[in-house]
């Protein structure tokens, strides 16, 4: 006698009974009390066979091993660097994991990374005492210069990336910017054209705010086309025609 009381993607609040009976299993964000499965978070219901899971609407980033995150250097010590990765405990980048080079005793560490620098790092280890070890060995892990960092809700990172990176690739291509997304919700954006860069920032803000709505990829695409199309009309007359042609050819395709 099991009964499911919610639907897929429904927004639930803590304490809400999601299902009755023993046929369902509580997963992330839910717990069992006698026969009932109860939500412990505000979020969207995700059903996977018998499992009931909540995808939280908001919440802190919880570090996991091998996550690639973007953080800011907050302290330098003889052991290495301390990095803020939006987690309540400390994250350490130790000397041995920081560079391939040999660092001699007594070297000024600021010549590698200074306080305030933004780094793309990998979480090497999450110890039991909540101290996190970071590493810089791996492709694409480096100090980030020339660009800006914005923050989104960590639980919305998968939405920003989209299925097989569809969303982020679209934003990158349309705005001609380089975008790096850390699992902790820090996003690095750098573009050659400041106007397009701002459009990318705004688009990411919209995704952060409206992540739960359906058909977000399409509405973001429309938003980008609108914004960039208008800009092009203003700037160069020739480009306007190109855009029109593009639109027409797209219509034909449809």
């Amino acid at each position: 006698m099991s009964e499911l009381l919610v639907q897929e993607k429904e927004v639930v609040i803590p304490g809400q009974i999601l299902a009755k009976g023993m046929d369902f299993l509580p997963a992330h964000g839910t717990f069992r009390e006698e026969d009932n499965i109860i939500s412990s978070m505000v979020g969207l219901v995700n059903l996977n066979g018998r499992l009931i899971k909540i995808i939280p609407l908001t919440g802190p980033y919880i570090p996991r091993r091998d996550d690639v995150v973007i953080g800011k250097v907050v302290d330098i010590g003889p052991w290495g660097w301390r990095v803020d990765i939006r987690w309540a405990y400390q994250a350490m980048l130790s000397l041995k994991d920081a560079t391939q080079e040999f660092i001699e005793r007594g070297t000024d560490l600021t010549q590698f990374y200074n306080i305030g620098d933004i780094l793309m790092v990998r979480i090497v280890n999450v110890s039991g005492s909540k101290v996190i070890d970071l590493g810089m060995k791996g492709p694409g892990l480096r100090k980030l210069t020339e660009g800006r960092m914005i923050q989104i809700t960590p639980s919305k990172v998968p939405r920003l990336i989209g299925k097989q990176g569809s969303m982020i690739t679209m934003i990158k291509e349309k705005t001609e910017t380089r975008i790096l997304v850390g699992q902790n919700g820090n996003v690095w954006i750098s573009g050659l054209d400041p106007i397009k860069e701002k459009v990318a920032v705004d688009a990411i803000d919209i995704i952060d705010k409206e992540s739960q709505s359906e058909g977000l990829t399409d509405s973001i695409e429309k938003y980008l086309n609108d914004k960039l199309g208008i800009k092009k009309e203003k700037k160069v007359e020739e480009k306007k025609e190109e855009v029109k042609e593009e639109k027409e050819s797209k219509k034909k395709e449809k």
Binding site: G116, I118, T145, E146, G147, R148, M149, S190, P194, I195, K198
Partner: protein, 253 residues
Amino acid sequence: MKSHVHTLAEKGFRLDNRKFDEYRPVKVEYSPLENAEGSARVTMGKTVVLAGVKMEVGTPFPDTPDDGVLMVNSELLPLANPDFESGPPSIEAIELSRVVDRGIRESGTIDTKKLCIKKGEKVWMVLLDIYPMNDDGNLFDAAALAGIAALQDAKLPEYKDEKVDYTKKTSKGIPLSKVPVECTVVKIDNHLFIDPSREEEKAADARLTIATIGKQLCAMQKGGDQALTDKEIEEMVDLAVKKTEELRKLLKK
């Protein structure tokens, strides 16, 4: 982030694509607080500042026996910005309240003589409290605007038999003759910015807050660790006079 502000400035852009001399959308709301004698909320982009006026009857200072008293106080709550700490007022909080205070005081907008009830014994004391609710830069301009708006909004409570009845508001307001408005100009490399956001404030080399009444200057405060040349200060003043005129239009007469 800091270097990005500089690179963009070199290209003639700002982080949010504003012009160098452009304010974010500014909104002034009157009387958001019920229990204060007067209050105002100013929104400047994402920056929100709340100001409230309380009136008290107290003894005047011995050197000015027939003058009312103005006291400006501000507190930077951790609610507004994660960098703010709770506890005793920080240097920034004191500077903010002092700059707002100076703008209002030095413009001579409050006719303090009219706030006197009995010479040497009883005067009205105007307590202006500034509370930033959200700090996305440029607290100075927002706080000064909220401060003067709250003063405009204030109504004296009823005073009878040496007692103040806060439940009854009279129709009498605080006697104001002018409208001081402040404008902060920051210098980043060789560019002058108006209404800096939080990131721009961090990247700024120097800043100058200018309080004006019409075309007249009444107070100034310099901040940041770089020097300003005469020419730059003149440019900043011209800019501030122009921009405060725009802000003044948002206030009621």
